[in-house]
């Protein structure tokens, strides 16, 4: 199903410059600068209470920034017209729909307050099909499981076919299988031309995003692609080498002197090391040659992709060290 008419547009749909929000003495978001390209899935990752929701509220016009500028779809969110708002979908962190209404009635309500035409039955059915709730449309929302409520909320967010989706922790509190399913939905939405701004505290979900913003203690540490995020966390890509012989101190020193090797080699055991390199794909051939030169027989050599949890921890540790 095709949601958007603006599939081929390019440019940034969100452009925030030095965005700051304070509540009294507390700085919730500190000088945040980011751009979200049209058609991307932008993951906004950080621990609970780091300022993700406040940022989303500033981007949707719920909060006005204390300082800085923000432009969403080319407009200041605090001055959005009705037409601008019709282009935005917002999934709130908690389930806020009405428990005494059925799935269908809730969806119908959302469609009405977004001003969707009264001839919308087919569209609502398609949405329910999309979030796999068609069979449950007569159930009261209050009787749904947490995961089903999240899916209903997502359907309500999509009901007016918004160009830009702000999804605030859509996968919070749901099981890993369903989380995976949600990301499948998001990928499908992206393929249809929607831009998604997704916050999450599940660092592993960064892998599904085109761009990831890492937020910590109100500050945006970086915005990178998932791969670059790994590189930044560890100073490059990681190659693990296992040899038939014992790798000596001298062998390691010689390997560390290679120009594409970054920093110290990590010793896993006598015959296994991890080497951080600029570019794993090109460095691996050179490492094989270098090891052979050292008289080492390589049994296995592979690029290691550390889990994003480790990436995130490393980034936060570095940030704390800097502070």
């Amino acid at each position: 199903m095709n949601f958007t008419k603006n599939k081929n547009l390019t440019g940034d749909v969100v452009d925030a410059q030095a965005l700051t929000k304070t509540f009294g003495q507390e700085v919730a978001v500190d000088s945040l600068t980011l751009k979200v390209p049209r058609g991307a899935i932008f993951g906004f990752i950080g621990p609970s209470g780091c300022g993700k929701t406040t940022t989303i509220r500033m981007l949707t016009g719920v909060h006005s920034p204390t300082s800085g500028q923000v432009s969403v779809l080319g407009k200041d969110p605090t001055r959005f017209s009705k037409a601008d708002r019709e282009k935005i979908g917002y999934l709130i962190q908690n389930f806020v729909l009405y428990p005494n209404l059925t799935v269908w009635e809730n969806l119908n309500f959302a469609a009405s307050f977004y001003g969707v035409s009264l001839f919308r039955g087919r569209r609502l059915n398609k949405l329910l099909e999309f979030v796999e709730l068609k069979e449950d449309k007569g159930k009261l929302a209050g009787a749904l499981s947490g995961g089903m409520q999240r899916r209903l909320s997502l359907a309500a967010t999509l009901v007016h076919n918004p160009e830009l989706l702000f999804l605030d922790e859509p996968t919070a509190g749901i099981d890993p299988l369903l989380r995976r399913k949600f990301w499948d939905y998001f990928k499908e939405l992206q393929s249809e031309g929607h831009t998604l701004f997704v916050t999450t505290q599940y660092v592993g979900e960064a892998a599904y995003c085109d761009l990831v913003g890492v937020m910590y203690a109100g500050r945006l540490l970086m915005v990178e692609t998932p791969d670059n995020l790994r590189k930044k966390a560890f100073g490059g890509e990681i190659v693990r080498i296992q040899t038939a012989e014992v790798i000596s101190y001298e062998n390691r020193n010689n390997l560390e002197r290679l120009p594409f090797v970054q920093g110290k080699i990590l010793v896993m055991n006598d015959q296994e090391i991890e080497v951080i390199v600029d570019e794993a794909s090109t460095a691996m051939t050179q490492l094989v040659e270098a090891c052979n030169g050292e008289g080492l027989t390589i049994e296995t050599i592979e690029e290691i992709l550390p889990p994003f949890d480790d990436v995130f921890v490393r980034l936060i540790e570095r940030e704390d060290d800097n502070v």
Partner: protein, 434 residues
């Protein structure tokens, strides 16, 4: 414009669905008021409270003749439980709620009166309710008036009887005067004139005594009487009188409670944040909510009224269109009060508390059971700030008097309603804005 209507319809449909999903609530809303009015009619029949009364006389045997009237007064508010000689014992019975009144008959009452002094009745009661105390005071006053009248009547009857003897003496005196007149020598005009004057005086006195005797003793004692007649010439039962006020109070309370919980719940649930981002405005939200509740409550009011008029036989002398207009404006203004509560409350509990306080204020200050004219004038400002005050006055006018609603009341209530709508709109706008 079309989108505006669609957005409004979202709330109409949502609110109505949420209400209709609770059939037990609807049943209670319809049958509750009807049952209250029915039980009220059953509980308060058309009669005043009858007071069980014990008389205390030091010597009950002395209550003979004239004094008997004291305990035999024909007052429907008093039921004679007997005469006690001990005041203490009578008061114990009063304290135990075995009697309602103790009337202590003054000792030597007749002698006291003959000595040109008032004889004092002491009336004891055991009430704390100021209205009941007022009622007992009225009953006691009427009782003493009746005792006085009874004694006066008895004295008058005795006087009329004595006047008969006096008349006989006068007739004899007149006859003797006439004989004397015959005996006066001719030419003695002076004596003749004096005798003639005497005869005239005696005849006049005789005639006046005849008149005095011919009048009934009750007329002599109560020469004037009063008969009160209402313009409509109808006397309403308590149920009939209170029905319009009960309808008003219930509709006001339902509107306030529904509306008071409406927005505060949405604020608590967090959906207001979604409204802030969505293309819906505060005006559309408020209009949608007003229309949904107004529609539901107009139907509810129709059913309650139909049950009251056709089942409980509550009178409806006025025009139905006037009735409908008053109910509509009452609901509109009450919803305005409810939404205001909803916008200033932080929790459901707070909203319910405010609604209950308003109900209490309406019971005391709206003229529901205390006439507004009894209220201290500055306090009437409070009374006229309650929608129920306007509603009760207007519905009583329409239903019981067959008149139309006084325009000043209708316009006043509408003005408050519009004012509240504007205030609510601004408050909601502020909440929905950044």
């Amino acid at each position: 414009m079309f989108k505006f209507l669609i957005r409004i319809s979202s709330f109409i449909s949502k609110e109505l669905t949420e209400i209709l999903r609770q059939p037990r609530l609807i049943l209670v809303l319809v049958l509750g008021p009807f049952l209250i009015m029915f039980l009220f009619g059953l509980g308060y029949p058309e009669q005043n409270r009858v007071l069980r009364t014990i008389y205390v006389a030091e010597d009950p045997n002395s209550l003979q003749g004239d004094l008997k009237v004291i305990t035999e007064i024909n007052n429907p508010a008093i039921v004679n439980q007997g005469v006690e000689s001990s005041e203490e014992l009578a008061l114990v019975k009063l304290a135990r709620n075995q009697t309602d009144l103790v009337i202590v008959i003054p000792e030597n009452a007749l002698e006291t009166v003959r000595n040109n002094q008032q004889a004092q009745f002491v009336v004891y009661h055991n009430e704390v309710d100021p209205f009941q105390i007022g009622y007992i005071q009225s009953v006691a006053r009427i009782y003493v008036d009746e005792v006085n009248r009874g004694l006066l009547q008895s004295v008058t009857e005795q006087g009329q009887e004595d006047a008969g003897t006096l008349q006989t003496s006068l007739e004899s005196a007149i006859a003797k005067t006439q004989a004397l007149k015959q005996a006066v020598p001719p030419g003695d005009t002076t004596t003749a004139n004096q005798v003639a004057d005497l005869e005239n005086d005696l005849t006049t006195a005789h005639d006046q005594l005849s008149t005095f005797r011919s009048l009934g003793s009750s007329v002599l004692v109560n020469p004037f009487n009063a008969d009160t007649t209402a313009l409509s010439n109808i006397i309403f039962t308590p149920t009939e009188f209170f029905a319009p006020a009960v309808i008003v109070l219930l509709l006001q309370h339902l509107s306030i409670t529904f509306a008071a919980l409406s927005i505060v719940r949405e604020r608590r649930s967090g959906i207001m944040e979604l409204f802030k981002v969505a293309p819906i405005t505060a005006f559309e939200t408020l209009i949608g909510k007003f229309l949904s509740y107004l529609l539901f409550e107009m139907i509810l009011a129709g059913v309650i009224t139909a049950l009251a008029v056709w089942v409980l036989k509550v009178p409806m002398f006025g025009r139905w269109e006037d009735y409908a207009a008053v109910v509509a404006i009452l609901l509109f203004t009450s919803l305005g009060v409810g939404f205001l509560i909803s916008l200033i409350s932080d929790t459901d509990t707070q909203a319910v508390q405010y609604s209950m306080l308003l109900l209490l204020a309406s019971i005391f200050f709206s003229g529901f059971f205390l006439d507004l004219r009894l209220m201290w004038e500055p306090m009437r400002i409070l009374a006229w700030s309650l929608p129920a005050t306007y509603g009760i006055q207007m519905l009583q006018n329409i239903m019981l008097r067959g008149a139309s609603a006084p325009p000043i009341l209708f316009q006043g209530l509408a003005l408050i309603g519009i004012g509240l709508f504007l205030v609510n709109w601004l408050l909601l706008k502020r909440r929905m804005e950044v």
